[in-house]
Amino acid sequence: MGAIQDLLSGFGDILTLYNIVIIFSGGLFGTIVGALPGLGPSAGIALMIPLTFGMPVNSALCLLCGVYMGTMYGGRLTAILINTPGDAPAIMTALDGYPLMKQGKGGLALGLSAYSSFIGGTFGLIILVFLSPVVSEIAVKFGAPEYFMLMIVGLYTISLLTEGSILKALLMSFFGFQIGMFGSDYVSGHVRFAFTPELIEGIDFVAIIMGLYGIGEVLINIEKSVRINLGKPSFNVKEFIPDRKSLKNVTMPVLRGSAIGTAIGILPGAGGTIATFLAYAAEKKASRHPEKFGKGAVEGLVSVEAANNASVPGALIPLITMGIPGSGGTAILLGSLIMYGLRPGPLLMTESGDIVWAMIAGLILGNILLFFSNILLIPMFINIIRIAQKYVSPLVAALCVIGAFALNYSFFNVWVMMVFGIIGYLMKKFKYPSGSLILSVVLAPLTESYFRQALMISRGSYSIFFTRPVSLFIFVLLVLMTVFTCFKNSSKEKVKK
């Protein structure tokens, strides 16, 4: 009951015309960014951060969460319409969404996918509302050694679960760690790696993400000259509204997808892409007509869409309760929390509970607004995407320059952003994951702080990480994960051979 009361008070805080407009606009922006190939949730959130500087914290977080949720809705649009996924999770949407479009059922596919996205998001949010306080209560009992081990789990899993080479992901984690340690060390008073006076405060996290996800993506898009030909599909609004029978038929696939999405979202490093792959595989297995999958199976479409949107609230659970982000997008949100003066971690729900609940209320409101806008405004989205994609890359570059300047009204951050733009471009070219890098940049100071505290408790003895039950359990988990990954990789190699 406490959670419901807190949530209601969160709604009380955000239900103003200003916030509703902010959430709605964030959702629309996110939907368009999500639909444009090359720009994903991380880019969407990164581009919006400079706009939040003058806002109250509640509104700023509502805007960022609206964008995050919106990108999850947006990816499906171009996947269904022209078989071009706007982001990685939408790859699975295209498998059955596009065949439905070719069969003349594009309107139904868009409507059902919006509906399943909404149910998936709602399911995840319900779990977030009721599970967060419970996890938070347990997390409060953790000490520095447990937190240090959890941070390592977060950093390690995102590398292990990466789609490409684990070594590359680990290298990026180490690089991010090095970047995260620039600037003043507040415990000892030493200044680390301040090669110029501007670096005394460290490298600005927002300049890094705008470089990696803004400039880096822009350079790739301009090089590849990404163009999508949306044509002029004509839909009647009625086509987007599914009838009762269709809704009844998709109930179970949507619920299965929602459950898988939420569970996978909670795991660090897994995220929407893995959630959609697993949901699709599970649905195919559960179906009486698996042969229809890939040829326009509605169950396949709705299940992956539900899983994708459910993974967002799922990923927020470890972020809110323990301060551990599981993906690039949530790492950026964590960085934003720190930027707004909040202290992410187990005490966040106690110290800044009002802000957290307002953020969750904003997510619920955003999900509802996105549902209606993604059913009623589809023609508008298609037109905006058609025009925006022509001009988007240079405009994003210009926005990044102004945004980086706005961080502290100096050109130093603009140059930092440009350097990370080149790094982002090269990383994308050579398939180095950016999620590991961002996660490390954000977690480096926290990890170091917990490591120090743990050693102070044990008077310098490393045995503290193996003698306390929870941290020992996490350590064993790490070892098992490594063994499992090595086993999986060697099996893959054998299959390849």
Binding site: F193, V218, L219, F405
Partner: protein
């Protein structure tokens, strides 16, 4: 592609060596714990090790997946490089003539000559977009963006 990746890894290796060198002056230990130099040194060692492994792998694995991929096609790479240099030039100009004019010029040139849109639409979109950015950042958020 392989050469490009080798350069990228080598740059990472050099960066790690610089960090390792710079952290020499930082104490690694403190009373009952670690000093400010401990983690940078450890991480740099790991990073150097990983860079060497990845470099060796790129030399030993003669048929890697990315080996046959081209880094970029010449036209696309030139398009990207020119856009990047134009953006750098615009940022340099901002110090002397404010933000608005260099941004409009950058957008117009990229729209007209890189993206090949008509002059009229390039100018219209550039001016309109920069006006919106100005309204958001200068008027709404109070960022001191200088016109000239």
């Amino acid at each position: 592609m392989k050469t490009g990746e080798r350069i990228f890894i080598s740059l990472n290796l050099i960066f790690s060596i610089i960090i390792l060198y710079a952290s020499r002056s930082l104490p690694a230990g403190a009373e009952f714990g670690i000093g400010p130099g401990f983690l940078p040194k450890c991480i740099s060692y790991f990073s150097i090790l990983l860079s060497i492994i990845l470099l060796s792998k790129s030399f030993l694995n003669k048929k890697s997946a990315v080996e046959n991929e081209k880094f970029a096609d010449r036209k696309g790479f030139l398009r990207m490089l020119i856009t990047f240099l134009l953006l750098v030039l615009a940022i340099v100009l901002m110090r002397f003539i404010g933000m608005i004019i260099p941004l409009i010029l950058f957008l117009v040139i990229v729209f007209r000559f890189i993206e090949k849109y008509s002059t009229a639409s390039s100018i219209k979109v550039a001016v309109f977009s920069v006006m919106i950015f100005y309204a958001i950042f200068r008027i709404w958020l109070g960022v001191p963006i200088q016109i000239i």
